[in-house]
Structure formats: structure tokens, C-alpha cells
């Protein structure tokens, strides 16, 4: 019994197992990893939504003619639309694309599959997003009698812009979390140095290199941060799965009926798995820099 104890203590001459507490640092890091995971999933979700909606936003506005409209009427409508100054491009949508686009909203309705009478949809690409889509819609309705004008594309485009800036904000939040993590590690390491000043001095006088001493701190910190980040990420997973579930209908899916049915597979697992690794890296580097800087005051 004596030997393993003695060996393990001998591996920790600075007493870092007590000086760098296995509660406070991992706890703080876990909280930050949780925030990081939320930001990560937010960024991922925003990017998914904007990619998804972009298809719909390709046409800023649509003009619908009844399914029964004869080809000549469609041609006339197209010509009238192309004369409008705001319109860059006007094009009738192919039936397959229309069906594909409607699927998320209608579901795989048997009627759609059976070739239910779909209206003629003309996509309008605008020169730029109008300030007042309603006014433009009114103008179009007058130019093409009998048409139904949809300005939803304008809204989608606005949502896409919002999703993009949301993505930017969440990435910034992620960077902020990383920065705070580094600061927390630096504070913990400085406290550890203060608590082990005497022991550090003894090791230094016995010929320990800066790399040796800094490496002991960095190894311990990297382990604690990795464990904390892992805990935070694991805690975040159900929250993220729940959020993904809420977003599912927006992405063309369905809300889950049970916890097991939550869209676990849709979580950004690879990025999430990177959190503890990244955290450990940040902790290691911060500890190295902090300790080496402090050691430079010794000869």
C-alpha cells in the first residue's frame, strides 16, 4: 500500500492536486462549456436555417396564377412583369421544384404526390429588396390581373439576414467564452503559484527548468479543463436536442414525441466533441504562458 501512494505523491512535488482545486476550475469551465455549446449549436442552427431558407429566398416575390390559366395568359403575365423596373428576372417555376419547395410546408400530402393541381408560380428576382413590399405587390397585382402576389420571399430574405447576423453573434459569443476561459485559467494558475511559491522556489533551486515547472501546471490545468468542459458539454446535449426539436418544423421535420425521439443525430457532435479538446488546449497554453512569465522573475 505504501509504494503506490509514495510514487503518486512523488509525481506531484508541487502539490498541484490540492493547489489547483478539482472543484472550482472544472466547475467554472463546465459552465463556460455549456455556454460555448449553446453558442455553437446556435451558430450551427442559424446557419442551417439560413441555408434552408435561402432556397425560398431565391425569389424575393412570387406571383401565382390559377392552375387553370392558359399558356398565353402566363406569357402575357411574364412579359408584363419583366417590364416592371424593380424586377430583375421573372420566371415560371418548374412543377418539380415547386413540389419540392412546398413539401416542408405541406408534408408528403398524397394529393401533391398524385399531381394535385398546383398553381402556376412565377418567381420574381428583384433588383434589390423593396422597403415596402406591400406597395410593390399592389403594383404587380394591377399589372397582372387575376394574379395573387406573395411577398413572403422578402420576409424570408430578411430572416436569412437575421440568421446570418445571429450566426456571427454566436461565433463572437464563442470567442468571448474562450477568452473568459483563458482569463479564469490564468487567475487559477496565479492562485496556484501563490499557494506553491515556496515549492516552486525549491524546485527551481534544485535545477528544474521553466519548461518542467510550467509543464506540471499546464498538464494539471489541461486535465481539469478537459474534464470540466466535457461535463458542461454533456449537460448541454439534452438542451440542444430540445432546441433542435423545436426548430425541426422550421427545417422540414416534425417535433419529437419522446426524449429518445429527440433529434440527437442532428446535434453538431463533431464541434461539440472539439469543445473539451479546445478547452484543454486553451488551458494548457494559458498555464504555460502564465507560469513561464512568473518564473522569469527568478534567475
Amino acid at each position: 500500500m505504501m509504494r503506490p501512494l509514495r510514487r503518486s505523491r512523488g509525481r506531484d512535488p508541487l502539490g498541484l492536486r490540492r493547489a489547483l482545486s478539482d472543484r472550482l476550475l472544472p466547475g467554472l469551465v463546465a459552465a463556460m462549456a455549456l455556454l460555448g455549446a449553446l453558442a455553437l449549436a446556435g451558430a450551427r442552427g442559424a446557419s442551417d436555417l439560413s441555408a434552408r431558407w435561402q432556397g425560398g429566398a431565391a425569389a424575393a416575390m412570387t406571383v401565382q396564377l390559377p392552375a387553370t390559366a392558359p399558356a398565353a395568359q402566363v406569357e402575357r403575365a411574364l412579359a408584363a412583369l419583366r417590364r416592371l423596373p424593380e424586377v430583375a428576372k421573372a420566371q415560371a417555376m418548374e412543377r418539380e421544384r415547386l413540389a419540392a419547395l412546398l413539401r416542408p410546408w405541406l408534408g408528403e400530402a398524397p394529393g401533391a404526390a398524385a399531381g394535385l393541381a398546383l398553381p402556376v408560380v412565377i418567381e420574381l428576382h428583384l433588383r434589390r429588396l423593396p422597403q415596402q413590399p406591400e406597395a410593390l405587390a399592389l403594383g404587380i397585382a394591377q399589372a397582372v390581373p387575376g394574379a395573387q402576389v406573395e411577398a413572403h420571399g422578402v420576409w424570408v430574405a430578411r430572416l436569412v439576414a437575421l440568421a446570418r447576423s445571429l450566426q456571427g453573434v454566436t461565433l463572437a459569443a464563442l470567442l468571448l467564452v474562450a477568452g473568459i476561459a483563458a482569463a479564469v485559467v490564468a487567475v487559477a494558475v496565479r492562485a496556484g503559484i501563490a499557494a506553491r511559491r515556496e515549492a516552486i522556489g525549491i524546485l527551481h533551486d534544485l535545477g528544474a527548468t521553466d519548461a518542467d515547472i510550467a509543464g506540471r501546471f499546464a498538464g494539471r490545468v489541461a486535465l481539469l479543463v478537459a474534464l470540466g468542459a466535457l461535463a458542461g458539454t454533456v449537460l448541454a446535449a439534452p438542451v440542444l436536442a430540445g432546441l433542435a426539436d423545436l426548430a425541426a418544423p422550421l427545417l422540414g421535420g416534425q417535433a419529437a414525441a419522446s426524449v429518445l425521439g429527440l433529434p440527437w443525430g442532428s446535434l453538431p457532435w463533431a464541434e461539440l466533441a472539439l469543445l473539451p479538446v479546445l478547452g484543454a488546449g486553451i488551458g494548457w497554453v494559458t498555464a504555460q504562458v502564465t507560469v513561464r512569465r512568473w518564473l522569469r522573475r527568478l534567475a
Binding site: 505523491r9 512523488g10 512535488p13 522556489g201 525549491i202 524546485l203 534544485l206 527548468t209 522569469r296 534567475a299
Partner: protein
């Protein structure tokens, strides 16, 4: 061999920003040579600069001016990165022992060997031998706090010599010990000298010095006032 040439030392001033040495000079114009394998006392009243001089010798400080040469290496020409390797060849004993309180005697003794990256089997053999030498074989698993002052100082001496240093410096090694313990500690230091190590012992216990006459460096207010 240890050579000091016109050495001056300042500590950082009270405002002590960074490495700037703005405090008063505590050592002035020290010049002397300690031949290889010699034994020297370092004498002088408290505050004379004995500890500061020993810190220069053990490479814990660099001089503010002049040249310090230890183990044949002039410090002014040594990069900081080369100092740890030199320190491993210098044994140091302090008045307050400076053992690591959370490590048992065995691991305190093993520390210099582990820092130097020695293999565990060799570490065990060397530590056992040192424990025998200082008469503490039965205390390998004991924490320093459970030892008497004299025993702690013997552990500290064993730690200082376990790497077979060429230079051994001791700063008031008997200052906290009763006379019987002090004699035992001094006997160990003198045995290292007989084995060929260059030894410097700072003390203001004149009684011990009279029992063991040897060449002395005598400091007063940071100046060398006698050598020999």
C-alpha cells in the same frame, strides 16, 4: 573552483517593477577565489550579506556588476536556459531546511534525481544509500513535520548531495539546531569536503568555527574584510 571578481549586488527596489535593480547595493566589490575541493567558512554578523553571497554562488541570483565564475563557467556568458543544468551540480542547504512538507522523506530525497530525469531503479538505489549515510533509513516514509530539526537538516543535506555536486553551499545550516545536532550536521558537511567537494558554510556560530578551524571569508556590511 569559485571565482568572484569585483562583484556587486543590488536587489530590486521597494517599488521593484520587474527586473530593475534599483535598491541599495548590498554586496560591494567582492573579489576572491575558492579553490576546488576547499572548505571555507563564511562569517559575519546578521545582515552582512552572507545569504546574498551564497545565492550568487548557487546561481539563484546574478550579480549586478562584476563576474561570478562557478564550476569553471563565467555567469555573464551563460544563457538563462543553461542555468538549471549548472544548478544540478550545486548542492544547497538552508537554515530552514526547505523540505517539501507534503512529500515523505524518500520523495524529498528523490526530487533532484527526478528533476534530472534519472530512472526510478537508480533513484531508489541512490536514495537508499543517502538515507543510510545520514542515518535515516527507517524514516523513508515519514513526512518532514514528523522529524526533529536535526533529522530534517540531515534529510536536506542528503538531498543536497544526492546528485554528487561539485560545490556544496550551506547557509547557517546549524542555526536552528541544538549543539549535538549541529555537530552531527557539520560532520556530514566535512565528510563531503573529504570526499572532494568544494564546501562553503555560512554561520555566525563562532563556537563551531573554533571547533573546526578552516579558511574563512569574513563579511561586514557587504564587504569582504578578511579572507584566509
Amino acid at each position: 573552483m569559485v571565482r568572484f571578481a569585483s562583484v556587486g549586488l543590488r536587489y530590486a527596489g521597494p517599488a521593484g517593477a520587474g527586473g530593475d535593480r534599483s535598491g541599495p547595493e548590498v554586496l560591494h566589490d567582492l573579489s576572491f577565489i575558492l579553490p576546488t575541493g576547499s572548505f571555507h567558512w563564511l562569517l559575519g554578523p546578521s545582515g552582512a550579506g552572507k545569504s546574498s553571497l551564497l545565492r550568487l554562488m548557487q546561481l539563484a541570483l546574478r550579480p549586478s556588476r562584476g563576474e561570478v565564475e562557478v564550476l569553471g563557467v563565467p555567469l555573464s556568458r551563460v544563457r538563462r536556459g543553461a542555468l538549471p543544468g549548472l544548478r544540478r551540480r550545486i548542492g544547497v542547504v538552508y537554515q530552514d531546511f526547505r523540505l517539501l512538507p507534503h512529500l515523505p522523506v524518500f520523495d524529498n530525497l528523490a526530487l533532484p534525481l527526478r528533476i534530472a530525469g534519472r530512472a526510478e531503479p537508480q533513484i531508489r538505489a541512490d536514495v537508499q544509500e543517502m538515507l543510510r549515510w545520514v542515518g535515516l533509513e527507517s524514516k523513508a516514509g515519514t513526512l518532514p513535520a514528523a522529524l526533529s530539526g536535526g533529522e530534517q537538516q540531515r534529510v536536506a543535506i542528503a538531498r543536497a548531495v544526492v546528485m554528487r555536486p561539485a560545490l556544496l553551499v550551506a547557509d547557517e545550516p546549524t542555526g536552528n539546531l541544538d549543539i549535538a545536532q549541529a555537530r552531527r550536521v557539520l560532520a556530514l558537511l566535512q565528510e563531503m569536503h573529504r570526499l572532494g567537494t568544494t564546501v562553503v558554510v555560512a554561520t555566525h556560530a563562532e563556537a563551531l568555527v573554533q571547533e573546526h578551524p578552516a579558511p574563512a571569508l569574513r563579511l561586514a556590511e557587504g564587504r569582504l574584510v578578511a579572507h584566509g
